[in-house]
Symmetry: C2
């Protein structure tokens, strides 16, 4: 039975702010309202980082309401979150303060709305974050520019405790101390749980206070869900360390604010915190909403205010029809099977065991499952060491991080001739809700020239199995590009074709108008485009070429001989990917006649939003592809 989602109108925030004179009560009440709207936003969006948003909420509210001078003015103090995925509660607070338009409360993770990670296009977002570990470095740059321009403002940066595993954090600390950056305060949202599970289980931080102190930073610690304690710690920060950067280690509870989400409510022995990302189910939503309302009303009552008046909004959108299994999940099962027969296989993970499909492997082969935490560079170089020792490492992360953060380490492994399989999930434009820090659309370019490394993108479950088998027997290294978005039915149904490096195969027979693509997103749109084109009498042939940085010259020459138009569609920037590789090979083949050639892909930084609206925004929807095919067909006929 659908029920309305409920949220706090901005007018109610105003009433509470006006009605409660001072911190800490005012801040507490404001935080309570902020949590209600954070829950609303994430539930409506269908995904978002609840746990982090709630653990950091009191810190954010204390900063915005009480600590920062003129935070919404150009000259004022600056706050931003380096981990970034806690941004829903920041958005909710900014909307409550009238600093973002109220209607945006409905548009988290939608095109033209509020991205899943911060983006400078949104007001009061100084930096794009979500690529972890960059916050202190960016803050230092801002402070250095202020000093050179004769300005002065304080900068507060929030980081996650899992984020501290990134090497860049430790690169960035020394310079702040050497420069006596009293302007800079780092706050660690120390909620003890990273993406998958407890920080202590993934990559324990050891003596975190000693670590910061050894870099010359002032170190303070407090309860980060207690606005009173936060008030005191910020006072102590200026008094005790007036001449240097300081870190506040804020002990928080992931999901703090209501028992349903609070990590302290996790049953004993439970391995996984359930509210890191995604959206709560109906039952959890209703329970948490009631808990949050009770807290808020208690605070209002003790301040002598009338109970909160919520707005009923539409029920949450129906969940998309049950899709088949996602490719990373399929991949994880295939790897598990192969590992049973092949003792060389080891799996390396960087805190994404769930999203990379590795849970079954980690349980079946605990000794051969190696967890590195959020430390991709370390993981990749260790894979080189494992390969040197005679094993076959499969290295996992989200593609956005795996191709870029350890880019030099991947190259270094290649120069040693090590055989390593890099498996990047969440590849490509979709899902587009997390935002561009998580949309890997530059990976083929960034890795395409690594010697001896092939980039391979399977389209469905059968191709995933074939791809894993290829990895086991290939001569060189493989970057396996796994789309995590659901596989469209038409693509899921495609039969497997034998994998031969640089060779493609036809997945929809057709005439002399030929489209090349790979992976579930592109092939799904192309198959749909072919269907749309049928009524125009255009018989589009669709070819699946899963090799993104290789094409066999003879195979391509054969295809070209049968084509008047050759369109390459990429789930990637137009530059440095498959279209470049195909074009180069086509031209160098020295054929007597060449088809009309065109490549389509992304020309802009990926938009955030729902799949259909984002494909449309980038001109990659089936309808738009059909339109391009019509235009190219007309050109070829001229």
């Amino acid at each position: 039975m659908p029920f309305p989602l409920r949220r706090v109108p901005t007018a109610e925030f105003e009433r509470v702010l006006a009605g409660i004179g001072a911190a800490p009560d005012r801040t507490r009440a404001f935080a309570a309202l902020t949590r209600i709207n954070t829950l609303y936003m994430i539930t409506r969006a269908g995904s978002g980082h609840l746990g982090s948003s709630f653990s950091a909420c009191d810190i954010v509210c204390r900063l915005l309401l009480d600590e920062l001078s003129d935070p919404f003015e150009e000259h004022g103090d600056v706050y931003f979150s380096s981990k970034g995925h806690d941004v829903p509660s920041l958005y909710a607070a900014l909307i409550g303060l009238g600093q973002l338009p109220e209607e945006q409360v409905h548009r988290l993770r939608r095109l033209g709305g509020l991205p899943g990670h911060p983006d400078v296009a949104t007001a009061h977002m100084p930096f794009n974050t979500g690529s972890l570990g960059m916050g202190v470095s960016k803050a230092k740059g801002l402070i250095l520019s202020d000093r050179l321009r004769g300005r002065s403002r304080r900068v507060f940066v929030l980081m996650g405790d899992g984020e501290l595993q990134e090497g860049q954090v430790w690169e960035s600390l020394g310079g702040a101390a050497r420069n006596g950056m009293s302007e800079l305060t780092l706050i660690i949202d120390h909620n003890k749980i990273q993406s998958d599970t407890l920080v202590s289980a993934v990559a324990d931080l050891g003596d975190i206070e000693a670590r910061f102190a050894s870099y010359g930073w002032g170190v303070l610690r407090c309860d980060g869900n207690d606005v009173n304690a936060l008030a005191k710690v910020f006072t102590a920060r200026s008094e005790r360390f007036p001449d240097r950067p300081a870190v506040v280690i804020a002990d928080t509870v992931k999901g703090a604010g209501c028992p349903t989400f609070a990590a302290t409510s996790m049953p004993a022995g439970e391995w996984r915190y359930r509210f890191h990302s995604g959206a709560p189910g109906d039952e959890d939503y209703l329970a948490a909403h009631a808990e949050l309302m009770a807290s808020a009303d208690a605070l209002l009552k003790s301040a002598g205010l009338a109970p909160l008046r919520l707005t009923d909004e539409d029920p949450r959108p129906a969940a998309p029809a049950a899709a088949g299994p996602r490719l990373p999940e399929v991949y994880g099962r295939v790897l598990l099977k192969r590992a049973a027969d092949d003792p060389r296989i080891v799996a390396l993970d960087a805190d994404l065991v769930l999203d990379t499909g590795l849970i079954p492997f980690s349980r079946a082969f605990p000794d051969r499952f190696l967890e590195f935490g959020i430390a991709e560079q370390d993981m990749v170089s260790a894979a080189g060491g494992l390969a040197a020792g005679g094993l076959l490492p499969f290295v996992h992360s989200f593609s956005c991080f795996l191709h870029a953060r350890p880019n030099e380490q991947i190259y270094n492994n290649a120069t040693e001739g090590r055989r390593v399989v890099y498996v990047g999930s969440l590849a490509g434009l979709l899902p587009a809700a997390p935002g561009h820090s998580h949309q890997a659309v530059r990976d083929v370019s960034a890795l395409g020239a690594v010697p001896g490394l092939v980039v391979l993108e399977p389209a469905n479950a059968r191709e995933v199995a074939a791809a894993v088998d290829h990895c086991l027997t290939a001569d060189g290294s493989v970057y396996l590009r796994l789309v995590s978005a659901p596989v469209p039915e038409a693509v899921a149904a495609l039969p497997a074709a034998p994998l031969r490096t640089g060779h493609g195969h036809t997945v929809r027979a057709g005439g002399r108008i030929v489209a090349i693509g790979s992976g579930p997103v592109v092939l799904g749109q192309l198959l749909e485009a072919a269907w749309l084109l049928e009524s125009d009498g255009v018989d589009l042939r669709v070819v699946n070429l899963p090799w993104l940085n290789r094409v066999d010259a003879d195979w391509l020459a054969g295809l070209a001989a049968e084509a008047d138009v050759l369109l390459v569609v990429e789930n990637h920037y137009t530059h440095g990917g498959q279209a470049d590789t195909v074009a180069r090979a086509l031209l160098e083949a020295g054929l007597p006649d060449l088809p009309v050639f065109h490549g389509l892909g992304l020309t802009e930084v990926p938009a955030c939003g729902a799949p259909a609206e984002v494909l449309q925004a980038h001109g990659l929807s089936a309808g738009q592809l059909a339109e391009r095919v019509r235009a190219l067909t007309a050109a070829a006929a001229r």
Copy 2:
């Protein structure tokens, strides 16, 4: 007056090892001989890292002679250097021990010889190093593979103190402690001087012992140039920390072993240590050689052995004829001039102030010169912060590091729309003496798809000035690719042409056989090839296209109309660079007739060696290019 270079024959090492019964005297004497040959090798090679080789020499000799079990057997203990540039003394020791062929003593940094940084193709080099910060990660991988395969050996890794500025080091420590890696010993060659100057002046390490201890490592400290102290510290390492990884902070002197090179001999107030890289001049060579001989003979005498019998070898090769200024030097002067007029300009450096041409800037604008140490990720994200604050950051490092280590950070800046200029020196295949960790031939591919970023490679001093001016007024970001090898005379003499994005210009008029290239190396070889081809009646037109990831469609169409053959030659891998960009544009232009097209570049990991031999090894010498042009011309005529 040329004089012979002198070295210790392997037979003399054998005599000394046989004649002195035990450590520490045996080790001391062996180290003395090793230093003499290290000096010989670097002087003959014309370049190499003397200071580090000498500071680490006693550690290396103690390990190889006394600490490691069966170091030259498959099952034995493993030693490698993570910083890698101290490898000349390791080579000298291995040659002295008969573990590398004696004739290799003459072949440091030569094709088929001993690379400037370690490579697995050389015996007893477990890993490719020289890309800093990877050592502990690789060692962990090796140890994990040993454990899984039921083997056990100890692994000793040497790191530089400057190297500790790399974030990856701090990513890698925690996992070793969590896994109780008692097999792993890290030794810090704490010589207090990094590439440019004192570590404390660049990026002070703070309380280095506390830092390691905070990660759960055992920490020990000793005099790293005293083999007795080293013996004691390694005993203490096993006794005190039998269940976990440990670090030995070895206090050393850069250039230890003779007063001429010892950093302790630096005059008071001297800013720069002179023997980090390069080769000593005649006077320094002779002085140091005499000092080293005196030390060695004193040790032999006290052991009752006859004086050392050296072999006279050829004099050192004549230095190459004085070349014009290198492009980074020219660049530094241009930036200095522009900065005087443009207060937005700030320069960021990662411990390469000399090699990136920034010394004049750093002196003239100390406030606007920002030193980050060997921390490229931190530097690039800070540049984002500086740009956010309204400045125009110019970010510097060797290209090999700048395009790869902070690859994700560069992309992140781009998604914010920040305008940043990335200046990578030491780009391309030449100089080829340092080895592939320092030869940036994948940079265009790795950065080519970054939105809004153009890759621009100037060929001579005039083009450098024009390129800097372009950076000041461009809409987007620029990656300035600077070759550090000398500019050939013919290229130095080329007049400047106005820079228009994606447009090239003819630098040698010719007929319908056209070669496109950029930068001093490629254009130098092409101009020479054109001269060679004249006698065959082939009139090669050479076009300079300094834009490596952009080409203007109309300009290209015009060029194609005047060409029967179009050859693109790249100082880069064949994949993902200029040839792909040109081919794609050519094909998409839909021209009625297309020239015969071919791209040439690197297809293998770059070789180490002298410029001419390395160009030849990769098929990129003028003679080989001329040969290819002849073949293509014949093909076009068919």
